[in-house]
């Protein structure tokens, strides 16, 4: 890199120093995204309806499920079952639930509609599927056949069955519609809700297929990740489960439709949980390092392939979420450092989350591109994973000692680095560096700040 290029880079970075997203930007994106998704789903519902009608027409002896224009989807069989749960006979509570449902559910549904009001109509009266006491107060699950109303909204016709959760809203401690999901479609949420204080109360229907719940990832002293699971117990078609306080804040709890295997792993994604709460997640600790510079050599693979390599290496070593079967499920930082080692191997270092903390991992792999590509594809390639321990991102730097005298990988975004070797201070190139194993101290100087010296032990 030339100093001339540096000028342009620095100038581009300087030009955006005060560019920041508005406070409501995320909300705007979510509203817009829901609108787009709604239109897309509505389109899919139309296609499904067309196929259904065609099949019905060919099988001439099979009557349509229902007469009239709303006849494209069979009613949920649970609609004809009696209300279950320990509050099933509490007429006053059931009346309150249905009243809340009638007054609030349509407004709630319109929030996800595109350019319009009254985008939904209910085709038959709602049915309380379950009503019972929970640790978060009395709650009920309401089934509601519905159809969309393309006449008033820019949406295609569809006839989903809705499942709503009605319970106590922490905002005013009164009964409200807390959440609504549509049932039976691939892209919808499962019938699993988390609600109440810290969203610590779970409700899952038998139809959801939920079997176990795991509150958090546990990271061992060797960096391996594990989960403890508790079985969900169903009574009256519903499982109610209370999680330990603080689980939501750690945001690692999952519900799975699969009992983990002998290694504690599942093969499928956890179920999607509809979370009805006003509490916010505690953000994951993360080093916001968009780019590191250094003269490190390193992996011949591009960044996406390196990420696959890292994920495969960690997974093969039991250091990924055992309930996260694909790289999509992995929760990690946006930075990686790769360096060519004196013995010809390559090291790739990065940060992963688990147990509400950030953890450092360094993966040592053969230096050949061929071997690295194999590991990126998930094939078995000899490698070593060094667990760098729990890490506090507020420190602003990382340092991990590599085995076999291969030195230290250190980095501090935007800082000038020097290291002490035999009493002499040596300047490192860039803000990420591979230091000799004999280095004793690292000096970190952030722009405009006083130098900090860290012992390398």
């Amino acid at each position: 890199m030339t100093s001339e290029n540096d000028l342009l880079e620095r100038s581009l970075r300087h030009a955006v120093t005060d560019v920041d997203a508005p406070a409501d930007f995320a909300d705007r994106v979510l509203v817009g995204g829901r609108r787009r998704r709604f239109r897309r789903r509505a389109g899919m519902a139309t296609a499904a309806a067309a196929v259904t009608v065609l099949v019905g027409g060919l099988a001439a002896s099979t009557p349509a499920w229902l007469a009239g224009p709303d006849s494209t989807t069979p009613a949920d069989s649970r609609m004809s079952e009696p209300t279950r749960g320990d509050l099933a006979k509490d007429a006053a509570f059931l009346d309150k639930v249905l009243d809340r449902w009638r007054t609030e559910s349509l407004t709630r549904l319109d929030r996800v509609a595109y350019e319009g009001k009254d985008c939904w109509a209910f085709t038959t009266p709602a049915h309380v599927h379950w009503a019972g006491n929970t640790p978060a107060g009395p709650a009920a699950l309401v089934l509601q056949p519905a159809r969309t109303t393309p006449g008033t909204c820019r949406i295609e016709p569809g006839t989903p069955t809705l499942l709503g959760l009605v319970g106590t809203d922490g905002k005013d401690n009164a009964t409200h519609v807390l959440d609504v999901v549509t049932t039976g479609e691939d892209y919808t949420s499962s019938e699993v809700f988390a609600f109440g204080p810290k969203a610590a109360t779970l409700i899952a229907t038998e139809a959801s297929g939920a079997k176990v719940v795991s509150p958090r990832i546990e990271v061992g002293s060797d960096g391996r990740k594990a989960r403890r699971v508790q079985p969900l117990e169903f009574h009256d078609g519903v499982a109610v489960h209370q999680m330990a306080a603080g689980t939501y804040v750690e945001r690692e709890f999952v519900v799975s439709a699969e009992v983990p295997d002998a290694q504690g792993r599942t093969k499928k994604h956890p179920l999607w949980i509809s979370k009805s709460t006003h509490d916010h997640y505690t953000p994951q600790p993360q080093l916001d390092w968009p780019k590191l510079r250094g003269d490190l050599g390193g992996s011949a693979l591009d960044a996406p392939a390196r990420r696959m390599l890292v994920w495969n290496a960690l997974r093969q070593s039991g250091m990924t979420d055992p309930f996260g079967p694909t790289i999509e499920d992995e929760n990690g930082a946006n930075w990686m450092i790769s360096a060519g080692l004196p013995d010809g191997r390559t090291v790739i270092m990065t940060e992963r989350f688990g147990g509400s903390s950030a953890h450092l991992y360094a993966i040592l792999v053969p230096g050949s591109k061929e071997a690295q590509e194999k590991l990126a594809r998930g094939e078995r390639v000899p490698h070593t994973v060094v667990y760098g321990g729990k890490h506090d991102p507020r420190s602003g730097y990382v340092a991990v000692r590599l085995p076999d005298g291969q030195g230290w990988v250190v980095a501090s975004y935007g800082a000038t680095l020097r290291y002490n070797l035999g009493g002499l201070w040596v300047t490192a190139q860039g803000d990420a560096a591979l230091l000799p194993a004999a280095a004793t101290h690292l000096e970190i100087t952030k722009p405009g700040a006083v130098a900090v010296v860290v012992p390398l032990t």
Binding site: L8, S11, L12, A15, G33, R36, R40, K275
Partner: protein, 171 residues
């Protein structure tokens, strides 16, 4: 809100400030256009959030670059961009501080053709390699090379002499 929405919202909250900076340069300093562009990209990502393989940020950056190219194609047939004087803040210190003044740099970027500007931003702000830039824009490496070379030459012409002679082609 579903857990998928939660994770998407977390991603947007955490990374949109950084992504907006890229968008700002791709839109040549038009802040409102930069927000619109990024919002459009993120809304599309929201719809396919569960299907995005791998970390979402590189995906977002590529999508942003592509959206910028498409956007400019359609915009060029419609309205002109907002006058730069409207969108730039007060003038700032420049070369004496070892940087090109923002107003001057952004004005020069705005004068580049959209695709050329995108290449320059990806190469010199995002630090993409020629190959990564070619992949992101769906063009050949040769195109990236020539666009980079021509883009830097144009910037030299557009930026005042004491800074322009510092701009050289990246090897």
């Amino acid at each position: 809100m579903t857990s998928a929405e939660e994770s998407f919202a977390d991603f947007v909250r955490a990374r949109s400030p950084v992504l907006l900076k890229t968008s700002y340069l791709l839109c040549a300093g038009d802040r409102a256009a930069a927000e619109d562009l990024l919002q459009d990209v993120l809304e599309r990502m929201f719809c396919r959030w569960r299907r995005i393989a791998g970390p979402p940020e590189p995906y977002a950056r590529k999508a942003l670059a592509n959206a910028a190219a498409n956007r400019w194609r359609s915009r060029s047939r419609r309205v002109a961009e907002a006058p730069l004087d409207d969108v730039l803040g007060p003038s700032e210190p420049g070369h004496e501080d070892g940087i090109i003044a923002r107003a001057e740099l952004v004005r020069a970027l705005a004068a580049l053709p959209p695709r050329m500007r995108t290449v320059i931003v990806l190469r010199f702000f995002e630090d993409f390699t020629e190959e990564q830039t070619a992949q992101a824009l769906g063009c050949g490496k040769g195109t990236v090379k020539s666009q980079t070379s021509r883009g830097l030459a144009r910037l030299r012409d557009l930026i005042s002499p004491d800074a322009s002679d510092l701009l050289e082609e990246r090897r």
